[in-house]
Amino acid sequence: MSDASVGHLVEQRLDATHGVVLYLDGISVSFDGFKALNALSLAIDAGELRCVIGPNGAGKTTMMDVITGKTRPDAGTAFFGQAIDLSRLTEAEIAQAGIGRKFQKPTIFEQHSVFENLELAMKADKRVRSTLFARLDSEARDRIAAMIERVGLAGAADRVAGLLSHGQKQWLEIGMLLMQEPRLLLLDEPVAGMSDHETERTAELFLTLAGRHSLVVVEHDMAFIASIARKVTVLNEGSVLAEGPLEAVQNDPRVIEVYLGR
């Protein structure tokens, strides 16, 4: 829906030569006077796994909204790699550029089968005309089958997604993200509602994904954070309160004051 030249921007390969895949600088967003984000600055390195924590209302979800184009910042810049200005792209263009997002509440296509969910998410030419005449080749089928296996849904390919358990839905949504082959994954409370075993397996999965993908994980489950965290960012009142290794952040008196101590 934006001008056609943006399309070229999306087509070109992500330029992460300086090692930074996502760069937020001075982002502010306010809703009716409430500052959801207040001059937030954040940089995510290529291949990094970053955990973001913070009390409710700290701006975690708004930050994801800004990155994925759902909310436009009032001030500040958001760049994907060196060249892609996220504030100029629509949600769909940002997704095509290589940013995948998992919602807090699992959002899948409940009336489609597991297979169809992954088919629709799979990286492809997603314009109307190509979709009208799209055919699945055997290579694509194999990739979908492999992903079904990978997210622990073997045997459920034809199951209607709405009938899956909560944890399975979370996994299916993660599978859908991976089918998009994103460079950057934004994961909003990915283990909410998962059993301990599922949580453990999710941690393993994320650790294998880091390196090839960059991940930003928002979670409240500190045990889960501890099992995957390398670098942690603490948000409070719309800006970064502290950043560093988990242990340093956990011992930071300001962090204890606003978040962990409660």
Binding site: E91, A92, F109, E116, L120, T131, A134, M176, Q180
Partner: protein
């Protein structure tokens, strides 16, 4: 969802096609009048009218049942297609009107000396046929472009479509608009030079409607079983997720919305020569709401359900308005309440349940 129409579905479709395209024309043309199995002009036209309604119901099912866009203004596109064809039929009257002038009677009555500019070329059938597709298509495209770009959805979208058809109705009611005011167009004499009120012509128009309905059904089936159809249904169920998968959902909605309007226009163009009249009441909000009821009764998102719903509700309407004209609206209201409460998936939902049991 991809398994819509198994072999049983295809057999049902073949039987339906045979009944439409062979049995009805045979009963009308080969069985002599007086035989109890003979179909008169009246019945052939009535059947043809139902087929046109079924096309509208299919068009509605594509946008509502699959893409989740409830239009309460589809009667407008139907009427516009009908008016485009009506202009051609008015020109075909020639000098045979009441006033025996080269202008339609209503223009003579208004003391107009010449056709307004927008009537130019409407004496050419192909031009009128192009208008049938282009006018509803363009209007839907422009309306949809703004609506979907502004991300208007749900009940807001429905209300705006309702307002759109209402505004158009008021416009067409005005004599100065140049479309015959509240009387609209009627008293058609011929089409392509052939007299229009003969059994033969009725059967031809009926058969064209049947072919159009079957074509729409096949086109619809192809659309909804393609990846495009799966994207549409996904938009209906979780539009944000579709956007974050990289699909520009506005383009998808605009495509199916415009296609749906064009199908309605074609249905309207086939309808007008068969019923012999088109007037602004076709644009009344109630007409468009009725279309939604047909689809709800048959079962949303099933295609076949739309056809069944259109036939059932209109069959009931024909019966009631002849036998018990006073209670028809009560019946319609009751039907909608009962379907909403007890048959959320319509007739097709009942059929599916029986099959499963």
């Amino acid at each position: 969802m991809t398994r819509l129409y198994g072999s049983r579905g295809w057999i049902a479709l073949a039987a339906f096609s045979a009944a439409l395209l062979i049995v009805v024309p045979l009963l009308a043309l080969a069985v002599p009048a007086g035989n109890p199995f003979h179909l008169s002009e009246y019945w052939v036209s009535l059947a043809g009218k139902f087929l046109c309604y079924a096309i509208v119901a299919l068009a509605m099912d594509l946008v509502w049942g699959y893409a989740g866009i409830l239009s309460l203004g589809h009667g407008l596109f139907f009427a516009l297609g009908g008016y485009a064809m009506g202009m051609y039929l008015m020109r075909q009257i020639g000098l045979d009107g009441v006033y025996h002038r080269p202008l339609p009677d209503f223009m003579v009555f208004l003391d107009w000396k010449a056709y307004p500019w927008y009537w130019s070329f409407t004496d050419h059938f192909l031009y009128a046929a192009a208008l049938v597709v282009l006018v509803p298509g363009l209007l839907a495209f422009v309306f949809g472009w703004f609506a979907f770009r502004s991300r208007i959805k749900g009940v807001y979208f429905s209300i705006i479509t309702q307002a759109l058809t209402y505004a158009a109705m008021l416009l067409f009611f005005r004599n100065e608009t140049g479309f015959g005011g509240n009387n609209g167009f009627t008293d058609f004499k011929r089409i392509l030079g052939f007299p229009i009120a003969t059994l033969d012509m009725r059967v031809v128009l009926y058969a064209l409607s049947a072919a159009a309905l079957l074509g729409t059904l096949l086109l619809g089936r192809w659309l909804v079983t393609s990846k495009f159809g799966r994207v549409l249904a996904a938009i209906r169920d979780a539009e944000q997720r579709v956007m974050f998968c990289g699909y520009d959902t506005g383009h998808y909605k605009l495509f199916v919305w415009t296609l749906s309007a064009v199908l309605c226009g074609i249905a309207g163009a086939l309808y007008v020569p068969q019923v012999g009249i088109i007037n602004p009441s076709e644009m009344s909000p109630a007409n468009s709401i009725e279309v939604a009821i047909w689809v709800a009764v048959g079962g949303r998102g099933t295609l076949a359900g739309a056809v069944i719903g259109a036939a059932l509700v209109n069959g009931a309407k024909s019966f009631f308005t002849q036998e018990f004209p006073d209670i028809w609206l009560y019946f319609l209201g009751l039907l909608f309440i009962l379907v909403t409460l007890f048959m959320p998936r319509g007739v097709m939902g009942l059929l599916g349940r029986r099959k499963a049991a």
